[in-house]
Symmetry: none
Amino acid sequence: MENNILKDLIQKNNSKIVLLVIDGLGGLPIKGKTELEAAKTPNLDRLASIGSCGLSEAVGPGITPGSGPAHLALFGYDPITYLIGSGVLEALGIGLKLESTDLAARGNFATMDKKGVIIDRRAGRISTERNKELCSLLQKKIYLIEDIKVFFKPVKEHRCALLLKGKDLADGISDTDPQREGEKIKEATPLKKGATQTANFINKLTRRINEVLKGEIPANTILLRGISKIPRLPSFKEKYLLNSGAIATYPMYRGLAELLGMDILPTGETIKDEIKTLRENFQNYDFFYIHIKKSDSFGEDGNFEKKVSIIEEVDTFIPEIETLKPDVFVATGDHSTPSLLKSHSWHPSPFLLISKNCLSDNLPNFSERACCQGSLGKFPATAAMALMLANALRLKKFGA
Amino acid sequence: MENNILKDLIQKNNSKIVLLVIDGLGGLPIKGKTELEAAKTPNLDRLASIGSCGLSEAVGPGITPGSGPAHLALFGYDPITYLIGSGVLEALGIGLKLESTDLAARGNFATMDKKGVIIDRRAGRISTERNKELCSLLQKKIYLIEDIKVFFKPVKEHRCALLLKGKDLADGISDTDPQREGEKIKEATPLKKGATQTANFINKLTRRINEVLKGEIPANTILLRGISKIPRLPSFKEKYLLNSGAIATYPMYRGLAELLGMDILPTGETIKDEIKTLRENFQNYDFFYIHIKKSDSFGEDGNFEKKVSIIEEVDTFIPEIETLKPDVFVATGDHSTPSLLKSHSWHPSPFLLISKNCLSDNLPNFSERACCQGSLGKFPATAAMALMLANALRLKKFGA
């Protein structure tokens, strides 16, 4: 649940808040220890003893969140109200700039037989190289249909993104991907009023794509999913009166932050680069979002040791963040990614908050199990911003 | 969130419940210990080892509640649905009896220059004595306008309360206080349908006040805030089938309890007096609300030692409450008031419940940090009444 009373309580001051999101931080034990427990994290452990800890839950008990909902929740946006379509996330993920009138979709190159039946939904996982060639072929042949500009962008292997720019494009269109082999490509249909024209356009576009790709077996069609626009999101500035800067190495997280009106701070590829960016910009913003990607990537790969090493690397930079003296510092994950499961999971994220105004929990270390004993308890991630703002003394009293 | 299934589950029996609210109980560490940790509380500590403990949160994570919302939540009323205006709270605070048709406002004596610009919102913090003189001057000159009775009541220093009694008075009127100096007094405007006439009345009244106070510099006007009526609240009797008595030394808490239909039991000024009142009335009610004020007052003053001593004093009366053998006894705060912050805060309140039917948590003591480990966990204060009623066996099973 998003906190709707918050907007009346916001007050400005000169405090600075740093939110460090270690993507997929939470894990499960292999040989008795989780990744966070196995990692040597003397700095985070020290902060856990003097800060407040708890477990944050992005969507709800048992619900495994995608990166979009997990981040929105942590930023205080109800992830069920503000659903970001997978087409938009895919487009953000490859660094496309989306306008509010644009329509984006996730595409799969696929194999269709002569009768139009899908026989391989991934076109034999063609190489990324081949994907690029096909996208540029499509782009050459299809650029403008009925005043709508069409962009084909390669992602990886068989995955591509489709971006449409034009007037009166509607979202609320069903997928053309039948989701299983042995069925024909589906007609796009309008799922809400006013979407008929766009649905017809998608079907026309699919026919044009099939013409261009004829003979390019195994990649002779594209299946579309998650046809969507960017949701209308109140900005961080509006919602919290915070000037905020985002530091992230991956395009999707920069894109998400941009949707919320954060300034995207140019940074390098490493954690060291990100901390340098924080230091150099520290005087210019009230709120910093720093995103560490690789803890999640190695979790998804099932690489326990590498995930441990990323957490350990993050830990070495904690003292540098401390020397900046943020008024509130939070280290947490957006969701858990246990190496054991090789995927995101539903387990809540360890959450550590430190400020002059927090109860020190005296916990022995920063870990999933220690956080169970913390004073913040288990709480919805949508409350995290209220906790940060409160500790920064940026919230007035509610009621007399 | 208020629990709406409760009303169908309520059953009567002969059990007795005692709710001891130690106002502003929760705190933050100074030299390693919170006020409650620093206090010698052998009796509360003993109860914590045999009772159930947890942390209760009045409004939500990060939200600092005023006394009104904090108490309503503890009594099981959703504090967001039932908002009590600050005018009503101020009037209750000085012991005024409000009827449902009355309108109350908080007033500030202020200084206005010749052009009508507010140059001091607090009239140089005039003495309470001067405040009384001015209220009685106003009362003499302004008593009845257009069939509406007007009452001016001094509070403290520059603060006064305004009470209006008459027909068709509406709430939903904007403040006349511009909230900052250098601006003119604001016109009261209707914020909802049907409030125009009352808004006009408030503006007329302000002009009359200015005429009377002309020449009384620095207190030559009154700024009004929180113009409000008492909200329609279902009574304790209706909601819980409880005959309840309130024991409080401060008028505001008696006033709040009266809004909920509790009987206000006459008592003295000390904690000893309050416990005596409990003992003398113990056979006459099902539910007792006892309010200890000074823990909050000393917290607001930043007086750690005095807050500790109030908690210690409360502790000495615990055995006397035990000898009455209430079926359910709860000791908690309405909100936290850390001496460190000199104000209410967002930190949840330590909560201790004891009954024949509770799990004994075997905690080492009664404190914020011990309560993190309690079996009640962290829970919304609006659930506290359900916990008390359940332990008193006053709730039937939900569903078959």
